[in-house]
């Protein structure tokens, strides 16, 4: 088999980090950081998702083609979200035009 078998402690470590991040994201939500609340929440969620993809989903040890597909999903999601918001966030501008 070509699949890379990770030692179990990797999974336990990732699990512990994920639990800590969950604790952190709840705690931060109750602090008033203004706009940074959303940035922190999404930053932590993105970090959690990244370590799940890399270790639980073994992408760190996958072929380059798999890497390309995974990064492709992020890229297309980025296009979806960013281009949608170029429309919706700029609609208010016409009142100043």
């Amino acid at each position: 088999m070509s699949s890379h078998i990770l030692p179990k402690r990797v999974y336990y470590t990732i699990f512990a980090i994920l639990l800590f991040c969950t604790y952190l994201t709840v705690q931060i939500a109750f602090l008033d950081l203004g706009a940074l609340n959303t940035v922190a929440a999404l930053g932590i969620a993105t970090f959690k998702a990244t370590i799940v993809v890399l270790f639980f989903m073994h992408v760190k040890y996958s072929t380059r083609l798999t890497w390309a597909v995974v990064l492709g999903s992020v890229f297309w999601l980025g296009i979806l979200l960013a281009l949608t918001m170029t429309d919706y966030l700029t609609r208010v501008w016409r009142h100043y035009g």
Binding site: M1, S2, S3, I5, L6, K8, Y11, Y12, I14, F15, L18, L19, T22, T25, V26, A29, F30, L31, D32, L33, N37, T38, A41, L42, I44, A45, K48, A49, V52, V53, F55, F56, M57, H58, S62, T63, L65, T66, V69, V70, G72, S73, V74, W76, L77, L80, L81, T84, M85, Y88, L89
Partner: protein, 224 residues
């Protein structure tokens, strides 16, 4: 089957499809195929996240007020339950790769149980929302100021968590098949791909929740 492939000792493995040269190549193709499917899933949920982003940017106060009605404690417990189910899934894949059949079946069962606990807690939350008249529609009740836009939040809440829950139900169904295949000997140390790609699906569903939890439950919590 070509003579070259037939000569290859792995070609005799019952799980090897004839159009692959080796189990390793078959496994790589399987993983890649699963990831291509997951890209479509990312964009499927992505459309809902985009909708959420638009309405939250338009009605931030209504979204914060509506988010306060969700139960952070139950949401946090469910996050922990789901992360734990991802650990048991990862350990199931590990056991499959080492050919530890009993351990594999134990971890698959644990994953299903944790998935069931998640769905149970989710249904308790849904029940509360129905009891509190927080389900969008003619019976919806909320502070007058936000009544229209809070319905947008709760529509997104039910659609996003509902689709997520549907993925969990499908995931538990997949785990049942995997349990059957582990039991009847289809899954072996050489052929653990089905468990691996089922794991990819399960972890993906976990990732969706990792984003849903802060976006739905934790908006503007400091204000109250």
């Amino acid at each position: 089957m070509s003579h070259d492939a037939a000569a290859h000792h792995e070609a005799h493995h019952p799980a090897l499809a004839h159009h692959f040269d080796s189990l390793a190549q078959q496994s790589e193709a399987t993983t890649l195929g699963m990831w291509v499917f997951l890209v479509t899933e990312v964009l499927f949920f992505g459309g809902l996240f985009a909708t959420y982003m638009i309405y939250r940017s338009w009605y931030p106060d209504a979204f914060a007020a509506a988010s306060h009605e969700l139960d952070v404690t139950l949401g946090t417990i469910n996050t922990v339950v789901l992360i734990t189910s991802s650990l048991t899934m990862a350990l199931a894949v590990h056991a499959a790769q080492l050919g530890q059949r009993k351990l594999l079946m134990t971890f698959l069962i644990l994953t299903m149980i944790l998935g069931g606990v998640f769905l149970g807690i989710k249904s308790v939350e849904y029940y509360h929302k129905f009891a509190e008249h927080h389900v969008p529609g003619p019976d919806f009740q909320f502070e007058k100021e936000y009544i229209r836009h809070a319905q947008l939040f709760f529509s997104l809440y039910f659609v996003m968590t509902g689709l997520h829950a549907l993925h969990m139900i499908i995931g538990i169904g997949i785990m049942l098949v995997m349990l059957w295949w582990s039991w009847n000997g289809t899954i072996t140390e050489e052929y653990s791909s089905p468990i691996e790609i089922s794991g990819l699906y399960w972890h993906f569903v976990d990732i969706v929740w990792i984003f849903l939890f802060p976006l739905l439950y934790l908006i503007g919590r400091h204000a109250h």
